[in-house]
Subunit: 407 residues, 2 copies
């Protein structure tokens, strides 16, 4: 064991800030008492802006996959025609859930590494006769490091199949990047505590549109534990129908407090910078990134394991230096590795991760030039930061001019 | 807010020992790495003796209710005939879950406050023609403070309906009282982290017999998130199919370590003593207990709210003194209150709770005689302790005699 805290760079569970860790060690409280009611009220209120919704957010005790199942079983009926748009392992899983409960799922898959194309989705829905009950979408595909252009996809679906419900997996994106559920017309949106929220796993947060809530009245897939209406009905009392993961709720509450201090704009910029630094650093070290450059994720990066590199041994060396990365999932097992950069992540940790990879490459005689990875990461970050500052200055200047003109 | 830690005497979540709290505040780890694999292996091994099973124990991220749903949906098919034996709110819930998934549930209910009678169960099953696919049983009914005679009930079911699966809710009993799943012939047994295990809520542990695992191959109720076979199949790798509630797993692991130090015999004796003290103390204070004296629970006690006592005001005074009790559930709301005595509970905390109740009664001029409650609690505890010691001495004496006779 090391004397140092590992650099946990997997796409969740993410590392916890000190005050969030402390919150996880609090003494239990009565989950039917006023203290918990206040807590769940704060989580509700704190979550809504990140969802971009004015509606209710149900707090379920389960993994993100349980949240996806809740989205399906609460709004659909066996036999419903569903378009499952998949760009990776989690898109496949979403479709499998709907199939397990008897939906007629038609798969529309992009080659792994690519995003779904709004035009193709529009065409597919139009060609399909327009009687789809729902479309399943993944915002951020954790297995491939691809972030779908969600607002454009939602617009395409709304145009071609106005009555279809849009169910969205935002497990590994919400809270880290802008999302506007109400404005984009999404119907059920699911996230998980162990991702951008900087808390331990155990809670899934599920929001639904008015149309989503209405669909639940007609949906006949069986459900009990994951019944969202039971959750919504108790939100007013500040309770959950079943005993909630209280310690995780303490942590999410504290995570939201830290996020409010940082502001959403600050959080989103930090994720953009950390993603750019990771991607530039890995590329400078000679790794080929898995995702189409136009749709690289801001929360997780997948890179090909180069030919001839013994990943198990290489990863063992990284671990010995306290850098924890994730392997490939599903058919990408042994082919890619993944770096998580979401939740509690700062540029210095990304530089540390790139630096550690660089050291092991050097040891193996695979490093093109010492310092090339960290320098590229730093350049990418500073470039973004300066671009943001000059854009801010220009906007401020334009504002001043406009204000001056109005005088 | 008080400067003192409250005396959390609800039937879960239970108060956490200091080292368990600390475990809940640990930094996250990779749930697909060796550290987590070792952790889940220890939980597996540590849990089995309390279940009384040599079989696998699945670790699900959900509340106890999710565990009950897993028991149902993994082993049954829509249309299956099921006998739901209910003695309270949680027995009713178990039956509702089976109904929600299309089982034909026949209810057999005892009057609340009473246990199920093995003879009646045997007769009911025999009269029913013996084609029940499953029987749903509650070991400890948290809503009424009644503990069913589980071994006798299981024997009655085995005799009258040898092919019926026995699915058992031990959410609020397992770990606090002896249980022998394999010996008694139970097929699926469910418990939850926030009860006897001294951890926060968020994990349900579900064990199945060989017959239970076999039933899952034929069962057609839809399932995905709660699919027990997906969990079992990954146990060998030390993983769970979906991201687990890692922090709660840290806590359960530490709770099991503390429990091993105390030994099962010590834990069971402590629960018996705390239950007896609670019940004697409340009765001495003039409260009428809700449960049939022959089947009072060793983990939770329900007492009638006396006529003329304004519970809301009374409970407010208890809370002001940092004693947190639970109210009544379902149709018992406003009629009973409940005292939890499971998990991390010691006699001194029970004496403290009885003392606090006594003080508020005194303030309201309702106390028969000062000190009568705590004295009765202490007497009950010491009586049990001395009985245990003299039984131990007698057994040791008999052993010595037998050994002498054998010489």
């Amino acid at each position: 064991m090391s004397r140092f805290e590992p650099n946990l760079r997997i796409p969740g569970p993410t590392a916890l800030p000190p005050s969030v860790r402390e919150a996880g060690g609090r003494q239990m409280i009565n989950h039917r008492g006023p203290e918990f009611a206040a807590l769940i009220g704060r989580i509700q209120a704190g979550m809504k802006p990140y969802f971009g919704t004015a509606g209710d957010v149900a707090i379920l005790t389960c993994a993100g996959t349980g949240g996806l199942e809740a989205a399906v079983v609460n709004t659909l009926s066996p036999g419903d025609r569903v378009l499952g748009i998949s760009i990776g392992a989690f898109g496949d899983r979403f479709a499998q859930i709907a199939e397990a409960y008897g939906a007629r799922v038609e798969r529309m898959t992009a080659e792994w590494g690519w995003a779904a194309a709004p035009d193709e989705v529009r065409e597919r829905l139009a060609a399909g006769g327009g009687d789809y009950r729902a479309v399943l979408l993944t915002h951020n595909e954790t297995s491939t490091g691809v972030m779908n252009p969600l607002s454009q996809l939602a617009a395409a679906i709304r145009a071609a199949a106005p009555d279809a419900l849009i169910l969205v997996d935002t497990v590994s994106s919400l809270g880290a990047v802008p999302f506007e559920m109400d404005a984009w017309g999404c119907d059920v949106v699911v996230t998980g505590s162990q991702k951008a929220w900087m808390a331990a796993p155990g809670l899934a947060m599920v929001a639904a549109s008015d149309r989503g809530w209405a669909a639940m009245e007609a949906a006949t897939m069986p459900r009990f534990y994951l019944d969202l209406r039971r959750h919504r009905d108790l939100l007013g009392k500040g309770e959950t129908p079943w005993t909630p993961a209280v310690a995780v709720a303490f942590q999410v509450d504290e995570g939201l407090r830290l996020m409010a201090e940082e502001t959403p704009a600050g959080i989103f910029a930090r994720h953009e910078i950390c993603a750019a630094a990771t991607q530039a650093g890995l590329e400078a070290l000679g790794f080929r990134l898995f995702a189409d450059p136009a749709h690289r994720s801001r929360t997780v990066t997948a890179a090909w394991i180069p030919e001839g590199l013994d990943w198990k041994a290489f990863n063992g060396e990284l671990k010995r230096r306290d850098l924890i990365l994730a392997g490939g999932q599903g058919k990408l097992a042994g082919k890619v590795f993944r770096v998580g950069h979401l939740g509690m992540v700062r540029l210095d940790e990304i530089l540390a991760a790139i630096g550690t990879i660089e050291e092991v490459l050097a040891e193996q005689g695979r490093l093109p030039s010492a310092g090339v990875g960290v320098a590229a990461a730093e350049r990418a970050a500073i470039g973004l930061e300066q671009g943001r500052q000059s854009a801010g200055a220009a906007a401020a200047g334009a504002g001043a001019t406009a204000a001056g003109g109005a005088r």
